[in-house]
């Protein structure tokens, strides 16, 4: 069934179909529509879940630790300053191997304060050991939420589903809404290996001394690498049931024969597709970083432009820095910071210069 609605509503609809038992929320622009819609669904009896209306994003993310350890499926959402405030807890969630799913309305960070879209918040979170999946459009937002639960619960790592703030969160498009029984077929009920249970008391969140810390963290690093397989598996299994897929699950390649390449994440990649003689790689998965998929996609390519909507000060665009490991002549294009429009003209400008780094459209 096709419905027209903004991506935030599509996310809420997808979450509902995944039947989370606990939803932990706190308002922040431009994420708020997601949790408002979920609150309506719960209060109307359309979704049976407990809603925790936290007093901060720090507590919002902390609460999903407790809820998940009771064996409940959890959902949360935030943006920008909220993600930054919760940063400490993001590491704890992944370190405790909590299979949480969180929608991020990607937005600029202060100062100066700016409520519009870019990737500063999610890039600052890239080392939190959350799987990071970017959505290119409303349908992708819907589908990625459902896949995210499959991935998180199988590999026992949390997943961020990233929507470009405003450009996607507030964009209304037709969405093919999945049937409940198909979602149930795709997504088995959550099974936690360990829970807070007085019949079998276990301690979670112990102190690890230098003798043990590295081993625990290495296991986490291995899980993150193995997550690539699970993301691909989710994409394939999803295709079998819903007839929609997102490349190999990690990257999507448009116009693969063109020798000049643009690499971008999220809605920017969609805009780039209008350039006829370019191969566009939509980087769907930023963590784990899909080195192999990109290496293969860049074989024999002549020019590579990487668009970043954030900046690692003193180093460069974070996505470009990763791509340089594979294609060291790649050119960096910094675009759309703080919601600056990324138009077709700006992209044309970005690929017409040979500069190594260019802040496109900066006055």
């Amino acid at each position: 069934m096709k419905r027209i609605g903004e991506a935030s509503a599509a996310v809420a609809e997808a979450v509902k179909l995944c039947k989370p038992q606990v939803i932990s929320i706190y308002p922040i622009t431009p994420q708020t529509h997601i949790v408002e819609r979920l609150s309506e669904l719960v209060n109307n009896g359309e979704l049976k879940a407990e809603v925790i209306r936290a007093e901060s994003e720090h507590s919002m993310v902390s609460a999903i630790i407790g809820a998940s350890l009771t064996g409940s499926r959890v959902f949360s959402a935030t943006s920008s300053q909220g993600l930054a405030l919760a940063h400490e807890v993001m590491h704890i969630v992944s370190g405790m191997r909590i299979p949480a799913v969180m929608a991020i309305a990607a937005r600029a960070l202060s100062a100066p304060i700016n409520i519009w879209g870019d990737h500063s918040d999610v890039m600052t979170s890239r080392d939190t050991s959350w799987i990071q999946l970017h959505c290119k459009n409303t349908q992708a937002a819907f589908d990625t939420i459902i896949q995210a639960y499959y991935i998180a619960e199988k590999i026992k790592l949390p997943v961020m589903v990233i929507l470009d703030g405003f450009t996607l969160t507030h964009l209304a498009e037709p969405v093919d809404v999945a049937e409940q029984k198909k979602v149930d077929l795709f997504l088995p009920p959550l099974k936690m290996n360990y829970t807070l249970n007085p019949e079998k008391p276990i301690s979670f969140g112990n102190v690890a001394f230098p003798t043990d810390y590295m081993e625990i963290k290495h296991k986490q690093a291995e899980a993150m690498v193995n997550a690539e397989k699970i993301i691909k598996e989710a994409n394939n299994k999803f295709y079998k049931i819903f007839k929609r897929k997102y490349g190999d699950g990690l990257i999507e390649i448009h116009n693969p024969k063109a020798s000049k390449v643009i690499i971008a994440s999220g809605t920017t990649a969609e805009t780039c597709k209008t350039l006829k003689d370019f191969c566009v790689i939509h980087l769907r998965c930023f963590r784990p970083f899909p080195y192999e998929s990109i290496r293969k996609a860049l074989e024999g390519k002549k020019e590579v432009y990487v668009i970043d909507r954030s900046y690692s000060y003193g180093a460069g665009g974070p996505l470009w820095l990763e791509v340089c490991n594979i294609f060291k002549e790649a050119k960096s294009r910094i675009m759309g910071l703080g919601g600056r429009d990324i138009t077709l003209d700006s992209i044309r400008k970005a690929v017409s210069s040979k500069e190594k780094e260019m802040w496109v459209d900066k006055l």
Partner: protein, 295 residues
């Protein structure tokens, strides 16, 4: 073993707390009171660090620690998760935090959980400083006390402000049950935890927790100091049950000097400073009497 308390231990040997640590005794008593069907949540702090060196644990109850300031928020999640699964009435949830995590960094999380009406009992063991990091000043440090960050200098001598009235602050949220306790009166502490667990919403118990290193006294004086705190009126034992104030032990109002002189952290106090503290304690006692009489 304390007469009349259950023999079953849930905080067992193997932890690395200082010999004579007040907080370790508190842990034993409060878990005995909560019993087997209890889930524990712990803020970062002394008792968390000494009890769970991976891969060991001193807890015989399910236990979770996240960060310094988020125990109350994790408890909200457990409350919601159990509720969603129809199991909320099967278990107690007991949150344990030191004074740093309760008075200061985790205060917002605690206040938020109270506001949401989530049900758990929060026990604050108060050793009046950030003891785990080496005894720095917290919002619970008393007036003029030495801490590592309020040293006795030529210009400024110790902590210049008295501790926050945390129980009043929590009570102002209109919770159903708040109480204070010390390990000098273990049955009182035990009974207060039992009572707190029966109430809806967040219930709160503030327990004074003498710290050998921070307060600078001999390790065999922990109980004695806990009793002196009550006898001198430095720490009142009371409960507020659905707004009704009740004093648990009437203090003898012995001179505060007896309590202060027993601790190295107050060794620098002049007679004038001791008199000043005595004056504050006397005023507080008058205020308290008004509350007792108004009931």
């Amino acid at each position: 073993m304390i007469n009349g308390l259950p023999e079953e231990e849930y905080f067992v040997s193997g932890h690395s707390a200082c010999p004579g640590c007040g907080a370790a005794i508190i842990m034993r008593i409060i878990t005995k009171a909560a019993g087997k069907n209890t889930i524990l949540v712990h803020n970062t702090g002394c008792m968390e660090v000494v009890s769970t060196k991976f891969p060991t644990t001193a807890w015989k109850l399910p236990w979770v620690h996240g960060a310094f300031e988020n125990g109350a928020a994790i408890a909200s999640g457990i409350h919601a998760g159990l509720k969603a699964q129809g199991k909320r009435n099967d278990y107690n949830i007991l949150v344990i935090g030191g004074d740093g995590s309760t008075f200061d960094i985790g205060f917002g999380a605690l206040s938020g959980a109270i506001d949401r009406g989530d049900k758990f009992t929060y026990v604050c063991y108060d050793n009046e400083a950030y003891a785990n990091t080496g005894l720095q000043k917290s919002g619970a440090t008393p007036l003029y006390a030495w801490t590592a960050t309020t040293p006795i200098g030529k210009l400024i001598r110790g902590n210049m402000r008295d501790k926050k009235p945390i129980v009043d602050i929590i009570a102002a949220h209109k919770v159903e049950y708040v109480a204070t306790a010390t390990i000098a009166y273990p049955h009182d502490l035990f009974n207060k935890v039992k009572k707190a667990l029966l109430y809806d919403g967040v219930s709160f118990i503030h327990v004074l927790s003498p710290c050998i290193l921070g307060w600078k006294y001999d390790s065999n004086k922990t109980i004695e100091l806990s009793r002196l705190a009550v006898d001198t009126g430095m720490f009142y034992l009371y409960e507020i049950e659905r707004g009704k104030f009740k004093l648990s032990i009437t203090p003898k109002m012995e001179p505060v000097e007896k309590y202060l002189k027993a601790q190295g952290r107050f060794a620098h106090l002049t007679n004038q400073e001791i008199e000043e503290i005595q004056k504050i304690v006397n005023e507080n006692w008058e205020e308290l009497n008004k509350r007792i009489n108004s009931n």
